[in-house]
Symmetry: C3
């Protein structure tokens, strides 16, 4: 991760950098949570822009290599790191703006949805969505909750059942992203939006954000261990491991 804090504005830019496609590996997730906690505790930092150091891709989602051929302990550790990242991001007291400068499936979409505001490059080749079912897997309940909070129940139901990936214009139309801008302007547009949000007194904004998001956060906290166990018992199935191995071969 590349983290740059502009002390004059109080806005940090956090660029995911895990070539070639910014998969969410255990290492990236852990580093992300540490970076976020540092910024959270830095009184000079009030806003965060989350974006990608790559071109054409925001994040490809979970790293399949972390889910294949490893121990049960590894799977549990990986899933806990994913939960931790989400808890920190969704619940952040900072203003969080996603500058989605490329395609963003599955876990990448989750990260974007967990910010306060989503700006996407208006490139119709870029897509975003929770496409888990297309791969034969299932988005966990807190991915679902985050999407329901963003686009409502019906759009989520259809979206999740079909594993839909939306082009940037489609994503804007259904409210999955809040703003489209020309690709070359996305970082400046994100800075402009962050600056606007930061005109609101922090204390009032933070209490309000927490009031909106706490029930969803609490739901994962309550079911955190069973969610890990669900993941581990699912991913260790022979049929799933076989599918993942084939998928990894295909990607090579």
């Amino acid at each position: 991760m590349v983290v740059e804090l502009d002390e004059s504005t109080g806005i940090a830019v956090l660029k995911m950098k895990n070539p070639p496609v910014n998969t969410l590996s255990l290492e990236l997730l852990t580093e992300f949570s540490i970076s976020l906690e540092k910024l959270e505790n830095d009184r000079g930092c009030r806003g965060l822009i989350l974006t990608s150091a790559a071109t054409k891709i925001f994040s490809a989602g979970l790293d399949i290599n972390e889910m294949c051929g490893k121990s049960m302990e590894h799977y549990a550790e990986f899933w806990r790191a994913l939960q931790e990242m989400w808890l920190k991001l969704y619940n952040s007291s900072m203003v969080t703006i996603a500058a989605i400068n490329g395609t963003s499936p599955a876990g990448g979409c989750l990260m974007a949805m967990s910010c306060d505001f989503r700006i996407m490059a208006e490139n119709p080749k870029y897509s975003i969505g929770l496409n888990e079912t297309q791969l034969g897997i299932v988005a966990p309940f807190w991915f679902k909750d985050t999407m329901v909070n963003t686009i409502g129940n019906r759009a989520t139901e259809r979206s999740l059942q079909l594993g839909l990936l939306y082009s940037a214009p489609e994503a804007y139309k259904i409210g999955l992203v809040d703003q489209l801008v020309p690709e070359e302007n996305i970082q400046s547009a994100a800075a402009t939006v962050a600056t606007q949000w930061l005109t609101i007194p922090d204390h009032a904004r933070q209490i309000t954000k927490s009031m909106m998001r706490k029930p969803t956060v609490d739901r994962l906290l309550t079911h955190r261990e069973s969610d890990i166990q669900n993941f581990v018992s699912f991913i260790t199935k022979d049929s799933i491991q076989k599918s993942l191995r084939m998928y990894i071969e295909m990607l090579k």
Copy 2:
């Protein structure tokens, strides 16, 4: 009911046939639940298209004759059969597509809303909605829950209070139906959509669907008996029985 399973596609077409207007009688509801259970247990069947054998009407909703001049036991049996139909349809592990080829008030609208996807003939004379209050009665909470899940809280509140029936174009605009097609194409359009949905691996799709719908299903299961008692005590009121008798006379 006419049930035809195309074994090559795994898609069954279930046509309601209770002339002249496909009212949901105790017999039709019971037959519906039995048909659905059979298809559910048939491993060759993965998708269901629900439509009407009549022209101009999908279903006129609950059969008023089942609610007038009968015993309390009959009313309770009727209501339980209605609940059972909904539980089986809303919770079906199959892909369920409503091909709404005519007007669909009240219970007819409930059946359509309980499918995964709704295609309606783009005939502006056809209407759909939960119009119970127009008749002086009240949609039960699980009709309401199903509508909130489909079109959201505010649209449901207005819709239910006023007992609104929406023309096909209006229904599309508010998201009560997902697609409009020329009347003559509705069956082929439904088959096309069902085929698309069936490209998603069954297991992942079914778990996802259940994750979305289980809380709503569980709510009726928890309150099932009190819901029956509510209906029976409401429908046996003298004033309601009188209204229903007058309404039946008027229909004759």
Copy 3:
């Protein structure tokens, strides 16, 4: 408050009159609750149009003078009166139509959102919204719940965090108001809508309304005392009192 009941239609018009900007003072809130209860118990009254006797302003929201330099007992009494107003209005068995003939921030927006239907003068200078965070304060959870019920979760989250005030056309676009009419027609339009809603049998409409709104009402009833304590401990903070004093000076 000016209350006029048209006995021929059963529709009362309730005009807020607290010059110059209809702030919700303890006196106005108390009078409002008493008026509402009287109308509720008057069998000749079935509908209510809520509007403003002022020009250009519907209501400026809570009276800051009630929140500054007073005793803890006063703050508690004031907040309880606000809760009582909302409980009576949101839960009213009458058809309630807001005729929003001017700007309507904060508490004014709450009153409008608590009606069954909102008509706003299509004057782009008039605005409406829960702008609390702009003033460094926080909308309580039941303001938030009422807004979520009206415009959904995502629009509410953005709206509350930023303290957005929407112009009349914007408010219509996001569903915060249901209808825009030329300013001179707003009272007649409200009467027309009220008359339409009153064609629905009262009993069925009232049970339906209660089914939709009871969970939200119950939530405040359950947390009513802690909500009062939250308000009192917040408003008595030195920093908040200081801000309010400065704000009052500025208004002078």
